[in-house]
Symmetry: C2
Subunit: 669 residues, 2 copies
Amino acid sequence: MSHPQTVFTQTEFHGPSLLLSRRSTIARATVKAQLQKLKDTGRYHCFSLKWQPIYDDRSRWPCPAPMYWDSDVAKWIEGACYLLSDAYDAEVDAAVRELADMIRGAQQEDGYLNTWFTIAEPGKRWTNIRDQHELYNAGHLIEAALAHSSYYKNNLLIEPIEKYVKYICTVIGPGPDQKHAYPGHPETELALLRLYTTTGNKEAYDLARYFVEERGNKTGQDGLPYYDWERRQRGDSPWTRSDSYQMHDSNWYNQAHAPILEQKSVEGHAVRAMYLLTGVADLVCLDELGIQSFARKGDYREALTRLWNNLVDKKMYLTGGIGSMWQWEGFGIDYFLPQGSDEGGCYNETCASIGVIMLAERLLHLDLNSKYADIMELCLYNAVMTGLSLEGTEFTYVNQLASSDADRNRREDWFDTSCCPPNVMRLFGSLGGYLWDYGCKGKDAYVNVHLYTTAKVTFPVEDEQIVLEQKSNWPWEGNVLFLLQAPTSASVTLRLRIPSWARGKFTLTPSYKSAKLEKGYLVLPSAYTTANKAFSIQIDGFQPRFISPHPYTNQNTLTLARGPLIYCVEDVDNPWEQDHFRNVGIRSDSEVTERDEEVDQIGERYIALRSACWIRTIDDRAELESGVEPGLSHPRTGVTGKEVLTFIPYYLRANRGGKGHMRVGLLKR
Amino acid sequence: MSHPQTVFTQTEFHGPSLLLSRRSTIARATVKAQLQKLKDTGRYHCFSLKWQPIYDDRSRWPCPAPMYWDSDVAKWIEGACYLLSDAYDAEVDAAVRELADMIRGAQQEDGYLNTWFTIAEPGKRWTNIRDQHELYNAGHLIEAALAHSSYYKNNLLIEPIEKYVKYICTVIGPGPDQKHAYPGHPETELALLRLYTTTGNKEAYDLARYFVEERGNKTGQDGLPYYDWERRQRGDSPWTRSDSYQMHDSNWYNQAHAPILEQKSVEGHAVRAMYLLTGVADLVCLDELGIQSFARKGDYREALTRLWNNLVDKKMYLTGGIGSMWQWEGFGIDYFLPQGSDEGGCYNETCASIGVIMLAERLLHLDLNSKYADIMELCLYNAVMTGLSLEGTEFTYVNQLASSDADRNRREDWFDTSCCPPNVMRLFGSLGGYLWDYGCKGKDAYVNVHLYTTAKVTFPVEDEQIVLEQKSNWPWEGNVLFLLQAPTSASVTLRLRIPSWARGKFTLTPSYKSAKLEKGYLVLPSAYTTANKAFSIQIDGFQPRFISPHPYTNQNTLTLARGPLIYCVEDVDNPWEQDHFRNVGIRSDSEVTERDEEVDQIGERYIALRSACWIRTIDDRAELESGVEPGLSHPRTGVTGKEVLTFIPYYLRANRGGKGHMRVGLLKR
């Protein structure tokens, strides 16, 4: 199978698009801004193994921030390598080289490679695999090494990393003298499988598979779940737990409460859950390819489907954000999807929706169904893209659907836990790989087009090559022009996603009577692609529409959407609003008008929407006078004079000043 | 000041009423059923100081159930003593005497009196005042002793308890060698103040006052908050915490996050919060009487008002239930009031609403305002009365507003933590004391009538006595007949509460033109009461009405209420319902009819309500087919054929079988 992180180089964003605009901003501004942050905070030099004062700060127990500095650096290297090929920068290049040298130098004799446990807590290696990110860091180092070797065409990073993997395989595994452990923060699994796919490293495959199969084993080590055994070894009470653990034994926090095959719903930390399932999907993909069989074949596929459905049907926000609970940065109960802090939650970490995109991409390999690509697009244009400022130097970590006085609609230039900023860089760096997947068997080639934009993919078919080009003004307009160049001998099948919000409405030009829709993809067989090297599809659904979350969420709200974009309101466009739009409503029968807009100075263009709204009045005075019945007699609310509300795409929020008031779901009548 | 627990003996329930019916059931059935449970579980003999196997079970850390057995026994003694005077029972009498003997025998040489730390963990006294209920147990022993001495007219329990208080005063206090501690579970404060009020024990007063003023001191012991200091003494990590603590340092769990004067909102464990504030109100009442001044006079009154308003305006359910969070049995954020587990919470412990009643009664002494009495009545007839089965032998601990598959509408005959059953006994035992307060200054007497029922109060005015009698069919009808007997020389002012739900509508007969309404009380001066020894008031509000919780709760629901009663629906009356009435709605413009009903066998009469309803349909199939947008396009819901819904008073739920489906708030259109 192919991974987007590997094949993205075959795709070129060869004309203007919103995606290219973001990717260029990241290449131009974000990479260097983050490099500066790495340097300012001490991260850049952590692999030099020099002690830094921050190592003494244990106020964040059990996981001080420097404990995952390795991953921050690794993710930056990975993202930088993805972007260097398109946007070479000597300073970035030099930094990557220097970091690679430092990483090589940080490796211990036995292969161990982790800065915290080498500098700050020597002798404590592998004593808290549950909480202390040791394997997580290893995973990101693997991904950095893969990106590095792909760009630099050398083994300077792959070599020490493979040595580290070999060492980890001596420590962890099924043997009687090994730790029967698995990552507290999954990620290592998918990294190991990418390593295997790229280099054929069989130990990496075996270790990933072991992690997946051992996870949640209730009698894994001396008759105990591994994390319990490990805790006892440390001499910790079961009631000694980090703030992320709601209760003692809350092993669902890191998806270790049950074997994956037995997990009924997605639980706990959202990023961990997504990375874990991405690894599982990778393993199933490899299994499909006949590379290796699971002990219990087939079941993992069922588990993936079950957990995906739970995620999308009951635990995802309209924006593609996931995770309503701040305490464990993860999932609440089914349908618990409040919009903001003052309603009881809403977290939606940027990384978590990046994880959804990664998982969806893997699932498309297992089951070409547009429902996965639809979610991939939803997350990309909304929950993820909102995480990056227009200038590329500011970020959000949490992406609520409504602001409140406690959590305003604002950005930061960095975070103590800074997983999200480099993750956006990694995703956009390899974004070309998510647009489509393709391949060939002899002369029979296919391209499955998941995302529309303006881009061109080139891939070999036997000794020649196929070039497929798409041109569109997505996400603003639904017309996509395709140009196909293929050897005359090749037989090319194209599959074009019809988004669910298009409601099955599209126009293919030239038309093709026997075109079939299979699981949300319009199939264009070689008969068509041979006859039509240029064709276009006009996809419907670019008129504004009203959407609502599931009724069981108790969110009696309406949201405007247009194409793949979810809209929100901000006080900067609606300065009359004083209370986070908490009492502002819209009607689904109102007229919605569109207006082309441009963000001053930056020149970013977008379509704003406008619609009449109503204001809920709450008779607090009546309440106070009666004093009594909590929940005074019905009705206590009224409706007053209308204003006109201006909506912008959610991804554009928190870029243009204002008081920090924002909302996605408005009251419904 | 007077306490209901002291003066209730002056009130007689001299004719049939719902309140008398419950009190009689408790006296007849509940007292003995609970005595049997005390015996079956080992509690009864804990004061014999014999070791029991359960003492070895430390699975519930840091507070195994036997750690608060002392309070279970004490609360039973207290309730039994309240009821013995009206309903003498030789077995109960003998048990109280035997328990008193055992308690006397359990006291240690130095005065210490606690079974757990004497039998199970000797040497660990006062090492975890925060979590281990040592002072809480002492408080309930004080209350038991007061009830015991009042009924038995001897000092058999008061004597050892006063000795225990004297001992505690050596351990805790402001001195340099004393612990600057305060109860982890407040209750001791109000018990000490009752002890002081009854016996004049000044040490008790001083200790209570110290507890209130020291609480939340951030530098109380060696520059640390007391609980932090205590934890360090134990050698515990800050991250070692019971499951009730959401995060480390969650000192709001037991209202120790800040001095009471600085607390902005009611937080944490709801029962603790109510008991604490009741103690504070007691102290302010005593202050008003000129007994002792606070260091910062006046401020505590303001704090009480602020916290009461937060409680009632933002954290109370329609039923008078409080506490939406299961994990800490307490408060969520403002307006977070989901109806049941499948919506994210709803706890409403019976004891917590009993605490509201106690607090409201105290506040009425400070500020005679019907808003306190209205809430007292709301809690009594709804959140509290629902905690006891019609037969008096089964209970609820948690009182949700909607059932779910995980938490059905059911009762138990006991709980491991069995605070609620004896608390209901205590409340109903002393209930007469909550109906009214009264007093005199020379010949000028007053009675403030808070609750309507059928009852008679007799109290002295100089050498003679006043008897005020009320007769009504409350809570079913609003007509209340009053008969006053008073010495001709006495001048009697009556104040009658006009409930807020009456919307100011009432009829006094004979009428009185210059009658004034002061803070929700109709004032009848001596001019009226001298001329009219018999009069009646007809209070409006007994037609069914629709109420809704505050809009910020996101509960788009309607609830039926009638007079002081909140109604609910149960599947036993509406057997067509299969999903906890989750998709059932009503309309506020629907006709509601009433029907007199009777519970078979038991003969309990009530008024049922009936109204048309509508059913929400959710097009889950459309959702699955589209697959995609979480929150499919609006509209996804529809409305189908009507059924007729039968409503019963919430207090009657879970008495007549059925599948355990119940709901208070139904969908609103």
